[in-house]
């Protein structure tokens, strides 16, 4: 019975596909999986928008939307109707073809990323040998669409926002990949399904999630920082900072194209949270061995929504970082820490089982973090800025 609840969607798909002749079954299965992804993740996006607006509202000591439905839960429907009925304004000098294609490209690429996330036991759309690499390839393609949006608007502020966004995304691509490489190194496979299966073991009732190891915890923190920067979320949202650049690279978009950008950005957030849960928080595995009776996909979505709540929380709390501060942080602090983390992970592997490796690895990471942080702050003089490489 519980086994059936866990495999509910797999059994549902097999039942529907069973009605078709044998030659068509594989293709139909894939199509059903795609329909599932396209239905579920935009639904989560709708929930996320309500959570964000209410959550940010409460953190900023105001109420947030409360007119549409009880506690404003029908707000996404109101937003959808509004964006569909608004006039679609394209500037006269704008490059119409590229202007049209930019949001389309973004949404397509972000949806492709969902294809490799293992949502539950046996529930992944495409099980590839190198699925993590596919995910990062799709993530890298989002930068092209942002550039297309900023350039085609023929607007100084859009172009400036687009350049900043692309520079920030490229800079934080490196820590994102390097903190994921540690997980690949310790699992021995690039396949996300194998990574989750490697974390699905329990010692004394506690799981083997990678976040509970020293190198995994450090990698998770760096992954979280890089993920926040990759999706242009506060405190890294200078490219779309409302007080600086109007709306950055999507200033000239209105109506449905703006809604597509919004969708693409939030789906990107969901997607990267999904990858973070797969790599570090154990994907669909339960936190305690005793809780295995709860279906696996419930665990996955709970963890993803928890990550989203933390992202919203951070947005409401921290001030925005300036462009040179965030680039500084990326290249001078996070990248060396990821390299150190790689070496600490290797040390962990070769010290063998026992308590010694926990103490040694944790000590190395904590001491270097504190020392590097203090050394970095000592050289700062908070006067007028001078640039050495960008005059």
């Amino acid at each position: 019975m519980l086994e059936k609840a866990d495999q509910l969607f797999v059994l549902l798909r097999d039942w529907v596909v069973g009605f078709l002749p044998p030659g068509w079954r594989d293709a139909a299965g894939v199509v059903l999986g795609v329909i599932g992804i396209v239905a579920v993740f935009p639904g989560l996006f709708a929930i996320t928008t309500v959570l964000e607006r209410k959550g940010l509202g409460r953190m900023q000591n105001r109420i947030g939307p409360n007119r549409t439905g009880p506690f404003g839960i029908l707000q996404p429907i109101a937003d959808a109707i509004k964006s569909l009925t608004k006039e679609d304004i394209v500037p006269l000098n704008a490059d119409a073809v590229v202007h049209f294609l930019a949001p389309v490209f973004l949404v397509v690429v972000v949806f492709m990323g969902f294809a490799v996330l293992p949502v539950g036991r046996n529930m992944v759309l495409v099980d590839m040998d190198a699925s993590l690499l596919f995910y990062f390839a799709m993530g890298a393609s989002t930068e092209v669409s942002i550039f297309m949006a900023g350039w085609s608007s023929r607007n100084k502020y859009s172009l400036l926002g687009a350049m900043r966004a692309v520079a920030q995304m490229i800079s934080y691509e490196v820590p994102l990949l390097m903190s994921s490489i540690v997980v690949v190194m310790m699992t021995g496979s690039l396949s996300l399904v194998r990574i989750v299966e490697a974390q699905n073991q329990y010692t004394w009732g506690l799981p083997h999630w990678y976040i509970f190891t020293p190198w995994g915890c450090a990698a998770f923190v760096m992954y979280a920082i890089a993920a926040t920067a990759e999706t242009n979320r506060s405190p890294f949202d200078l490219p779309e900072g409302e007080s600086e650049l109007v709306a950055g690279y999507f200033t000239e978009y209105s109506g449905f194209k703006f809604a597509l950008f919004f969708l693409g950005e939030y789906l990107g957030m969901l997607s990267i949270s999904g990858l973070g849960t797969t790599l570090f928080l154990g994907g669909w595995s339960a936190p305690l061995a005793a809780l295995n009776w709860v279906p696996s996909w419930i665990w996955f979505f709970s963890k993803v929504m928890l990550s989203i709540v933390v992202l919203i929380w951070v947005r409401g709390t921290l001030p925005r970082l300036r462009q040179d501060q965030l680039m500084n942080f990326a290249w001078k602090f996070v990248v060396p820490m990821t390299l150190l983390n790689l070496m600490v992970a290797a040390l962990w592997r070769f010290l063998g089982e026992g308590w010694a490796r926990w103490v040694v690895c944790s000590a190395i990471l904590v001491i270097v973090y504190v020392a590097a942080g203090r050394a970095g702050m000592r050289g700062k003089h908070f006067g007028p800025r001078t640039y050495r490489y960008a005059e």
């Binding site: 040998d129 190198a130 690499l133 990062f136 390839a137 092209v144 350039w151 692309v166 490229i170 490489y389």
Partner: protein, 167 residues
Amino acid sequence: MSFVFWLLAAITVAGGLAAVLLKNLVHCALALTVVFAGLALLFLQLDAQFAGFAQILVYVGAVAILVVFAILLTRSSETPKDGGVFSRTWGAGLAISAAVFAVLGWVVLQSEAGLPREISVPNVTVLQIGNALMGRYVLPLEIVALLLTAALIGAVIVAMHEKGDAK
């Protein structure tokens, strides 16, 4: 040669033609991105997963952005060139490119005879690539790393102002 191959080949060739025939330079760069994506899909169609994804990650994600930044920061892409996209010396260009293509085609066709006859399509996994890179080909890997470090340092030095220079 399956239908998928012809479709991908058509997309790649169309993108390549667009990249040289379009007037607006940034459009050409975006058409080049389509070519890179088409090549990646061709790799995937041949079951070379690692090569295909690395192609997207490196070319579409980094090289295309680099090309676009270079175009934006060095010349005005607002006004397209008067007089079309063909230069005055197009005949010489055509002759040279035909000669290069002939040499490459001859080399490829000649080498096909020297390849061992495979019974089935080899299934190259990422594990094998990793083992090969760290085992047999570790020296080329280190040399390439050295080359990339030198390029990075060179780029920083070129972009940097000396401390004593007038700003």
